[in-house]
Symmetry: C3
Subunit: 252 residues, 3 copies
């Protein structure tokens, strides 16, 4: 592992400050289950979400956004038509975008689409191990990054970010995050929000995963179960500051 020079708690805190100062707009083409929680996560973080998937509206919303999330959950016709329209606008304007190919391991049509979208060079690919295996045939994150020519945020018990050259592990989080639907999907939107304020995708991904994981572990320590985790998580995300990040970040 080469590490990622320049990433530490102070960097993550500064990136969060920049995000809150700029209040980036993040347009989310995401699944039906995740829409509401994702919007609340972005608001708690300090960004402005928009969520329409209507093909007639997606170009205008993408044009007005600072970053784009393309999440492949609940992939119906409307979403399928909206995605290339949003990507055309994002590509023309040089806007960063995150691809989150959820459950590609469960749906062959979704996996095919994910491969096509990878060819459009997402600024960041967010995957878990099962999804990465479905896309690449099981290579570990750094090798997969080379094969896919993509920057990867691989989430799991320990998160890993890699751009094929640099890589970094992030070890914050809490098991209850896996007991709440759409936490991973909302995490993808957080990565997009950080891409809007940090031009280096690897550093943006590391900051986003750090902030997300730290809020998760604070909430996990307070919660009595997956129900009370949700409000505690949004509160923690909203209250996060440099001191908390410095005390809790585990990265290397």
């Amino acid at each position: 592992m080469n590490g990622a020079p320049g990433f530490d708690a102070a960097f993550a805190a500064t990136a969060l400050d920049r995000l809150r100062a700029r209040v980036p707009r993040v347009h989310c083409l995401t699944n039906a289950v995740a829409q509401s929680f994702t919007a609340n996560v972005l608001l708690a973080l300090g960004a402005i979400p928009s969520m329409t998937i209507a093909p007639e509206e997606v170009p205008a919303f993408t044009a007005g956004a600072d970053a784009l999330l393309v999440n492949l959950g609940t992939l119906d016709d409307t979403r399928r038509r909206a995605i290339p329209l949003a990507l055309d606008v994002a590509a023309a304007a040089g806007k960063p975008w995150v691809l989150d190919p959820v459950f590609v391991d469960r749906s062959p049509v979704r996996c095919d689409l994910a491969r096509d979208l990878l060819a459009r060079s997402p600024t960041l690919l967010r995957v878990n191990a099962a999804e990465l295996a479905a896309l690449t045939g099981g290579r570990e994150a750094r090798a997969a990054g080379r094969v896919l020519a993509a920057r990867i945020a691989l989430t799991g018990a320990v998160d890993e970010v890699s751009d094929g050259r640099r890589s970094l592990r992030l070890d914050n989080g809490h098991p209850l995050m896996g007991k709440v639907t759409a936490t991973g999907c909302a995490g993808g939107a957080v990565l997009a929000a950080f891409l809007a304020v940090e031009p280096d995708p690897l550093l943006a991904a590391a900051a986003g995963l750090a902030v997300f994981g730290i809020a998760g572990e604070i909430a996990g320590a307070q919660a009595r179960g997956p129900g009370s985790f949700v409000p505690a998580f949004l509160d923690a995300l909203h209250a996060l500051d440099a001191e908390i990040i410095a005390a809790r970040l585990r990265a290397g």
Copy 2:
């Protein structure tokens, strides 16, 4: 400002009592992000929500409802087809309806549709300042009401209701309401519920905004952030009574 004779805390409390006694059905054509929270807000208030947007079903649900909400968020084909069907039923039966043209300032197609729907004379138009500016070219609420020939509930740090003749400011609420997705959208559904039990649209709007804002400020005082705000808000709405309204209402 002319004020709105007849509106005070006692009126708002009585309107809420009538609502809880009648348990009105409110059919909501609303956006995907807001559906669940809106339904929970209506239930906590004392109304019965229905939320289908399927064109085949919308006429029967509208016919069985006491009021209708038309919210333009996430405006896909299905919603686009459902709206006129619902309005035909509502117009034929004289049912009150609220138009909430969310984000018309972000989407030209949505703004065009909103102007068409204004021509169908909503009982109440719910907007924020940016949306009103997109619709009217920036007139303030009372003048805009005259131009649009509409009763307007203009929401913001201070809410304002106007029917072009009478107007009223309502100064309850809490900044955390802006940090939770779909609070404004759910507020539109609350206005529809009050229109079902109060024939004067301006007084119904004032009562709805008062109840919503007071629940928001109670929740805001209890919450530790936007996450714990949501359960506290629904609890406060459910527990609201004449005494609380009298102690907290700021209107004039």
Copy 3:
């Protein structure tokens, strides 16, 4: 009433243990309002939800699932096309499925579809009294079960399960469950999860209703209203064990 030999608190607790050990996948074709809460209920219970309604994806997700939920809320074209595709896969593989014909009393097209789906022999039909009346002309649960040739879970202040031969009443729950949207819908998903681990549909339904109702009454006792009910309910479901079930089950 014949009762249901073999059902008691120890049986319900053992069924829950089996569910948590097996971690069944439950594919949910459910309404837009219920998707997120249903997914969280399944996760808190110990199952894995998937929620896509896209016809292209539904066969693969159903094939990979251990049980299926078909909920007729917000019945748009996409859901209408997805349902028979999922049922074909479920029938071919002998997978259990639950039919939840929500609001058939409000929508004639939905009632017609529900009757067609009943002809495909759901493993379990979940209804409330108004929905059952719309489907059967008002027969009580056991008689309706004979007429419909279906196993029925009839939910209300007191729940009843029947297969036309055996029947059982379950008297857990809390009034706040009726003040939170999609609790009934999420309950249907819980029944599907128990069908994945218990081959006798009546016993599976009884266990599911018992677990759901007990979690509801624990949450109801802790909550200050419908808002705080939701996190408390998910926490209670997640924490449920044999001792709690034995102390609280009211069935007979």
